[in-house]
């Protein structure tokens, strides 16, 4: 409900500001916080807003929404067969890859932007800067792309940027349950005649809340205390359970 009220307020102010506003795009997020609680199964965030000129006019304007998560280091390993058993063999490290990446657009980026622009704004998997150490075999990069897409953390055109009326637009960003905590950047780009003519940056925070947050921070901050607590809790639960069920 909070998200909806906020959306109404933003849309209202968009219309209130009227067409006199100089900003070519105005965008907002349905929420600026994704909370991972004990019941978390993934989340969906709506990016919405309005453009000054009608979309698809002449010359046509297009919108691109790109979301990037905190960077992480990743090791990609290839399985090899040793004496009939499949082991993890040669590996390569990608010290800095986005933990999350989602691209959406009214059209495919390669249809509306030249390569330099796509590279500059890191649009599309081909234009992500994935520097790796160790084995240079391009198969590792391909595997990274495939596996990251398989678990939903990297998405390319998974959902469209949809239009409502002439000026309103919205796009949905789906975060899987394995999403990392941290700060996320969401960029909205307005494209006309092979150029990015306006951009707006929004930010979003993914954080753990409630019991899940307490457990994770205790386990990380005070692992020894957490270990003792796990022992005590398990022992108590086991003992209590057997007492309860014996009576029945």
């Amino acid at each position: 409900m909070k998200g909806f009220a906020r959306m109404l307020w933003v849309l209202g102010s968009l219309f209130g500001a009227g067409m006199a506003s100089a900003a070519p795009i105005t965008a907002e997020l349905s929420t600026d916080r994704v909370e991972i609680s004990t019941g978390f199964t993934g989340a969906s965030v709506l990016v919405f807003g309005a453009t000054q000129n009608p979309l698809g006019g002449d010359p046509p304007e297009d919108l691109i929404v790109v979301a990037t998560g905190p960077t992480q280091g990743v090791v990609v390993r290839r399985k090899i067969n040793v004496l009939g058993i499949w082991l993890n063999g040669p590996s390569t490290r990608f010290p800095e890859v986005p933990g999350f990446y989602a691209l959406a657009g009214t059209r495919r980026v390669w249809e509306i932007l030249p390569e330099e622009e796509r590279r500059q704004y890191r649009l599309g998997f081909d234009n992500l800067r994935l520097r790796n150490e160790g084995n240079r075999n391009p198969a590792f990069r391909a595997a990274l792309l495939e596996l990251k897409q398989a678990d939903g953390r990297w998405q390319e055109y998974a959902s469209p940027v949809s239009r409502a009326g002439e000026r309103l637009f919205s796009a949905r960003i789906a975060f899987p349950d394995t999403v990392q905590t941290g700060d996320y950047q969401i960029e909205v780009l307005l494209v006309r005649e092979n150029r990015v003519i306006a951009r707006q940056e929004l930010s979003l925070r993914v954080e753990r809340v409630g019991t899940a947050a307490d457990i994770a921070s205790l386990a990380r901050g005070q692992p020894l205390l957490y270990g003792v607590l796990c022992i005590v809790l398990a022992a108590l639960a086991g003992w209590l359970g057997s007492v309860l069920f014996r009576r029945n």
Binding site: G73, L144, A216, A219, G227, V228, L233, G238, G241
Partner: protein, 304 residues
């Protein structure tokens, strides 16, 4: 009903975890073993990272064994001196096991190593159990009572540092129980099991302890070694998921009571043959996974 596991960093169906806990608890009540050797592979099968599966499996084993230990202790079936000797070895073994585990994790070989350990250990133990119970069954059919010497002397009795274990009616060197405790402790850390299914035969056949106090004393070792594994895994690897442990325990404790009630209706040899077959089938299932061509040729994992 989905529940988010804060350490595994994924959400899993809570009912599935309760169900797995119940099923494993039922079997462990039926056969009188901890069931860790079934639990950890099942957790890995549903997609829990193997480091979390092993560590939380050890934590669950601790909870599941506590009530058994209390019950055995009340009946006076725990040889404390033997238990402490085994545990001294177990402490060292599990500490070394957790270090090995952390090293394997850094090399990215945890999954394979854990599976390999399971295949080898369960394969051997399962085969021995099946063979032993089949010979026992055949002997019973032939009607001849097994003849065994009351007290056998082997080279083990020539070892130094002898100690009197009054409750076990033994006067033996501390070296064999220390070594056995060490080995089980190490396996416990790497496989996330209590090790009761290996410890019990070792105590009967190698140490020559009387059957009556074997269960209680092995539970003593299992509880304290799995507590040590939990502590070290939480501290040095950071992979104990208490939410996962609790869900498994709730199902497990309930299941164990039903299993134990049914277990009293089965005969000793048949139970052991069934348990042996179960252990063997887990080993074969895991071996199949190791030998099969993987569906994906690559894996990714975060740099820690």
């Amino acid at each position: 009903m989905q529940v988010y596991l804060p350490i595994a960093e994924m959400s899993v169906d809570a009912l599935l975890l309760l169900g797995i806990g119940f099923g494993v608890g039922w079997l462990s009540g039926l056969f009188g073993v901890g069931g860790g050797f079934l639990l950890t592979p099942l957790l890995m099968l549903i997609g829990i990272p193997s480091a979390v599966a092993v560590a939380s499996g050890a934590n669950q084993t601790l909870g599941a064994s506590v009530s058994g230990l209390i019950a055995q202790w009340r009946r006076g079936n725990v040889d404390w001196r033997m238990g402490l000797t085994l545990f001294a070895g177990g402490l060292l073994g599990s500490a070394l096991g957790v270090q090995t585990f952390a090293l394997l994790k850094r090399w990215g070989q945890v999954d394979v190593a854990v599976s390999l350990f399971y295949v080898v250990i369960l394969g051997i133990v399962g085969a021995l159990m099946v063979r032993e119970s089949i010979t026992a069954l055949l002997r019973r059919r032939r009607g001849s009572a097994p003849r065994r010497k009351l007290h056998e002397h082997t080279w083990l009795h020539g070892l130094p540092f002898k100690l009197r274990f009054r409750d076990s009616r033994l006067y033996i060197s501390v070296i064999p129980p220390l070594v056995i405790g060490f080995g089980i402790g190490m396996l416990s850390a790497i496989m996330g099991v209590g090790g009761g299914f290996m410890l019990v035969p070792a105590m009967i056949y190698i140490l020559g302890m009387p059957t009556a106090i074997v269960i209680g004393t092995s539970l003593f070792q299992v509880v304290f070694v799995s507590a040590n594994v939990t502590l070290l895994q939480a501290w040095q690897v950071g992979s104990v998921d208490i939410v996962l442990t609790m869900l498994l325990l709730v199902g497990g404790v309930a299941g164990a009571q039903f299993g134990a009630a049914m277990g009293t209706k089965l005969r000793g040899e048949e139970t052991r043959a069934l348990l042996g077959l179960l252990v063997l089938s887990v080993a074969i299932g895991l071996a199949w996974n190791l030998l099969q061509t993987p569906s994906r040729a690559f894996t990714i994992s975060p740099i820690s």
